[in-house]
Assembly symmetry: C2
Homo-oligomer: 179 residues x 2
DNA sequence: CAATTCTAGTTGACCGGTCAACCGCCCCGG
DNA sequence: CCGGGGCGGTTGACCGGTCAACTAGAATTG
């Protein structure tokens, strides 16, 4: 008996396996870096970055939950943590009393900035340095076809777009955070 | 203030972001498939596959924990679950009473086989179909350089090697399970 | 052989996340 | 204007995993 579809033999699988394994290893390491250097989770970093990029540095919980691909309760709890550390505040919306915003504090912003340095360095070291610029283009072009990847914005104009931080689940942006 | 290292602008990031996002989306979907069709976790699938490929269809807990990149306690609990479902049995080692093996039962094997069909189909659908054979080679070649990926076995001989199922954390093999 | 030390596995406490139930508030139709 | 339904957010119960402490059995050494 054989579980393998006939098509799945030889090198096709190698791409898949490298894809999986490298991802696991890289993400693990990035997490460890961030945790070690800033006592912070990749998730934390991600939402801090989202907030920093947002209008007024605040976002409604549910918007945040969509972006991060966490459930609403998940985001509630994550923000609870950030609030406890003073990196974020909850502010309520005058227009709609149901909404509560998570707003980046100054200390949250500062922490994001310093964490960003190590995080970006990690991406550089673990991913980018392994390829030439042409190869990175190639990769972007190939991986862009996969489900979930942005459909390869051929010459996207605004930094805003290019910056749109990571995406579903455990992504991490690497964008400018201006001030 | 700017978090981004100067080098990290433009398209370089696109490769990284597609890499992250596609992985999240694909893995999520694969998980959902497996869960929906077989009420089983990708982790479960992974260890069942390891067991199926192992000598005598059994492995010591700690070996299993290395392979799956779970902690020993994690593997204990995971196996607890599989035992409860009757997919695996614990058998003790006559030579060394400290060791206990997890051994695949017939029903576990059957379940693996049927789950394998849907899982492999998922990989096909979500990953492989997006590329031509040449592109898959390219990808394998590029991704193979990343940390954690096997170093591109140029013409690896044995199926055994090619089959060495996924790797660290949440990998999933796609190999033959013969009997 | 006894004492030490190392290894395999399990267990308890906890953590980060989900799911489902819930509360409070908006909004829309009588 | 008020009653019901839908939406935003939080909360409780649980789950899958880690870490640290522990137990039992090997191995090593004097």
């Amino acid at each position: 008996m054989n579980v393998t579809a006939p098509a799945l033999e030889g090198t096709a699988l190698e791409a898949w396996r490298s894809y999986l394994q490298s991802h696991a290893a890289i993400v693990r390491e990035l997490d460890a870096d961030l945790h070690h250097a800033h006592a912070m989770t990749t998730r934390d970093y991600e939402v801090l970055l989202y907030l920093a990029q947002a209008e007024e540095r605040r976002m409604a919980m549910s918007v945040l939950s969509e972006r991060t691909m966490l459930t609403r309760s998940g985001i509630t709890r994550l923000i609870d943590g950030l609030v406890a550390e003073g990196l974020v505040e909850r502010v309520s919306c005058p227009k709609d009393a149901r909404i509560s915003y998570a707003q980046l504090t100054d200390s949250g912003h500062a922490k994001l900035v310093s964490a960003g340095v190590t995080h970006v360095a990690g991406i550089e070291r673990l991913f980018l340095t392994h390829f030439s610029p042409e190869e990175l283009d190639q990769l972007a072009q190939l991986l862009g076809r996969l489900p979930g990847a942005l459909p390869e914005t051929g010459g996207c104009t605004a930094a805003a777009e290019a910056c749109a931080v990571s995406g579903p689940a455990g992504a991490d942006g690497t964008c400018s955070v201006s001030e």
